[in-house]
Subunit: 263 residues, 2 copies
């Protein structure tokens, strides 16, 4: 499972404040803690409050790279901002994200090709979020085909069927899982599949971690290969590690949780 840590995001107040005040230690602590907890990639998002998006993103990338070695997922709607930061990246980056809209895909895949980046492709377009697995599959096919036109292999894509809040779109959960299964069968090599897990429990009360981790385990049974989550949620990570074990990705030992974390 590819774990994309979500915590360096300016929508969180402490992160936003750390960005404004250039408090490197706050960001670096978040980076180190997430990697220690099992993140393979760190998402980097300056959030909605930045007054200087380009400098803020570049500062984040440089600050994070001083303490951890993992690839970054550059999360912005501004492609010029992503490109400036890519130039500073010491690893291959993930562009977060493109929709299935032609114009957006052209720009994102052009950039991905130029910098040999991976791309998160979200199964939605300007007509909105699809509510059926058929529509999701149609959009996923568009993304895979467009990427192929730029020489980008499907296994450098992370296709996101869009996990929706359970309290708003309860019937969609099952559709999303079937979409994950279908996306994996689209081509060979298979595209990665990814969800933004915290969407599932957004706006719910009382049982957020339980909802998220149960959804994650079900999505993993359906073939999910990557996930954007809070790696500091220990129970969530325990569930993820156990699901990987059941899927035979790691060899069983009595202390399998500890063994995974020591890796």
């Amino acid at each position: 499972m590819i774990i994309i840590g979500e915590l360096i995001n300016g929508m969180y107040k402490d992160v936003s404040k750390a960005i404004s005040n250039r408090e490197a230690d706050v960001i670096q602590h978040l980076a180190e803690e997430q990697v220690k907890a099992g993140a393979n990639i760190l998402d980097v998002n300056i959030g909605p409050y930045s007054n200087n998006v380009n400098d803020d993103m570049k500062w984040l990338v440089e600050t994070i790279q001083k303490v951890v070695m993992v690839p970054l997922s550059l999360d912005s709607t501004r492609l010029d901002v992503i490109e400036e930061s890519m130039k500073l990246a010491t690893n291959r980056v993930v562009i977060n994200s493109t929709s299935a809209d032609e114009d957006k895909m052209s720009m994102v895949f052009e950039l991905a090709k130029k910098y040999n980046a991976q791309v998160i492709g979200i199964a939605l377009d300007s007509s909105g979020v699809p509510l059926s697995r058929d529509k999701r599959l149609e959009l996923a096919v568009k993304i895979v085909a467009k990427a192929a036109g730029y020489g980008i292999s499907a296994d450098d894509l992370y296709l996101d069927p869009i996990a929706m809040p359970i309290n708003v779109a309860q019937a969609q959960a099952r559709e999303v899982m079937e979409s994950i299964r279908e996306f994996r069968m689209l081509c060979n090599p298979s595209p990665n599949t990814v969800i933004g897990l915290s969407n599932v429990s957004q706006g719910t009360k009382g049982h957020r971690s339980l909802l998220d981790r149960t959804f994650l385990v079900m999505a993993m049974a359906s073939g999910l290969t990557a996930v954007i989550l809070d790696p500091l949620d220990k129970e969530l990570m325990d569930a993820m590690i156990t699901a990987e074990l059941i899927l035979n990705k790691n060899i069983y030992c009595d202390s399998f949780l500890e063994a995974y974390r020591k890796k």
Copy 2:
């Protein structure tokens, strides 16, 4: 999800002792607690230590039926014992179980037909436990076809692909989940699918409940409709309730765990 409570089983020392000494209150307490925790069916197994299997089983059935109304799963290798107890049952019973062996199936389905019982059909035969989904499917087809010959509908069958201990047969977990998916597609109406959940963590140390509940949630994502488990394991039941919610079987509310338990 059909929850079959597993706790009234003479392999547990306190149950075995209660059976020998005719301590009705011990058995009735276990029956009531399991039903209160969400069991829809109670498994009844006199265990390996009985000196008088027929009387013990009949006493158990009568004792349980004095306090709870749920159907019973009569769990014995002795069909004569099951038949004697069936005569006392106030609800439709589940016969636990038949293999896919012709002789066994003939006897079990004959009995099921006579008493209008449901049947747990285990996907194994005298050649042993199958280690591939293809072999499991072959045995499942045999069971469904044989049952049909006795006029027993597939939705009165619980097909068990045999969940195996993760520390012994780790690669089988994934096969079992695919088998669940395949069994459900065998015919219309679909057969029920069932697993004996505690098998998964048998012989493991330290994380039994975590292994069991993670496996259960994954199996539910694959289409599992029934499970034999310990309904007094609260975290396990929480995971089951949450997975049902995600599968859109109950309507979301913020207190969905409490709402389920009040039903």
